[in-house]
């Protein structure tokens, strides 16, 4: 039941990405291109998604269990640190270069777009590089550093 719910959520998410135009890198770059011909469409995507999401999180914050009976895994951090901002800046550079962010890239890849396949492969390598760095560089240092 939970797997089915997650599958349907993924399906609706993917359909939303396609219908909204997020899977078209030209449209994404058109939104980021303030100095040229600006396409404001993506602001409407954000507005539509946040409109629904706002109420969903309002309900979620009042619950201790999900409607299918599992624990609620809500983010709890509120600090803004260098990793958050630095990482997001690097992500933004990649987003601006290709016009792809993770969700739309996966959908385009599934649609058979070979350029998206290159992007997704590189993105997964990037995530593995991070996982390796966490394990071998950041984690040992944290463990040995004095409190």
């Amino acid at each position: 039941m939970k797997a089915l719910a997650a599958f349907l959520a993924g399906l609706v998410f993917g359909l939303g990405l396609i219908v909204s135009g997020m899977t078209d890198p030209g449209k994404v770059i058109g939104f980021l291109d303030f100095a040229g011909d600006w396409d404001p469409s993506l602001a409407f995507v954000m507005a539509g998604a946040i409109l629904v999401g706002f109420f969903a999180f309002m309900i979620a914050h009042r619950r201790t269990r999900s409607f299918l009976g599992g624990a609620m895994h809500l983010p709890h951090r509120s600090d803004v640190d260098h990793r958050l901002v630095g990482g997001s800046l690097v992500f933004g550079i990649g987003w601006g270069l290709a016009g792809f962010c993770p969700g739309p890239a996966l959908v385009s890849f599934a649609a058979g777009e070979e350029k998206a396949a290159i992007f997704v492969a590189a993105m997964l390598i990037g995530m593995l590089v991070y996982a390796a760095a966490e394990r071998f560089i950041h984690e040992p240092r944290r463990r040995t550093s004095p409190r």
């Binding site: 599958f7 270069l97 016009g99 290159i118 390598i125």
Partner: protein, 142 residues
């Protein structure tokens, strides 16, 4: 700045955005999970017991979306100007950046802003500004 009216799609984008919000609401309220694509993928690359099933199911749903559109007779529109080298660099940057920044457009931009998280607001501002600066350099300065 001029508005690109020929590509402007307010209704389709608003409707698609609402679908994205509904999907995020489903995953949140039914599964108790935040719909952040980079986080879902990252969790699959470093799998933990009991944490992979819902992630695989969600990604399978994402993959099914273009097939459903195909059955409805709708092609997935895409204009990709970047060549393979640029796409590889961009993909690496997105993979590393979203990992360190713990989120992407969906996790921070949609879910984080929906719950008024200051962390996500900072992250969204950072990747929007970096994206705009990058497009400015590539399109107008180089």
């Amino acid at each position: 700045m001029t508005i690109d009216w020929s590509h402007f799609t307010p209704w389709a984008s608003l409707g698609g955005g609402i679908l994205i919000g509904v999907a995020a609401a489903m995953l949140l309220l039914l599964n108790g999970r935040v719909a952040g694509i980079s986080g879902i993928l990252g969790g699959l690359l470093a799998p933990r017991r009991g944490q992979t099933g819902w992630r695989v199911a969600f990604v399978a749903g994402l993959f099914a979306a273009p097939l459903v559109m195909l059955l409805l007779g709708q092609a997935v529109a895409r204009r990709i100007d970047a060549d393979f080298g640029v796409l590889a660099i961009a993909g690496l940057a997105v993979g590393i950046g979203t990992s360190y920044g713990s989120g992407c457009t969906s996790g921070h931009g949609v879910c984080g802003l929906s719950r008024l998280s200051p962390r996500s607001l900072a992250a969204t501002a950072a990747f929007m500004l970096a994206g705009m600066a990058t497009v400015f350099v590539v399109r107008h300065a180089l």
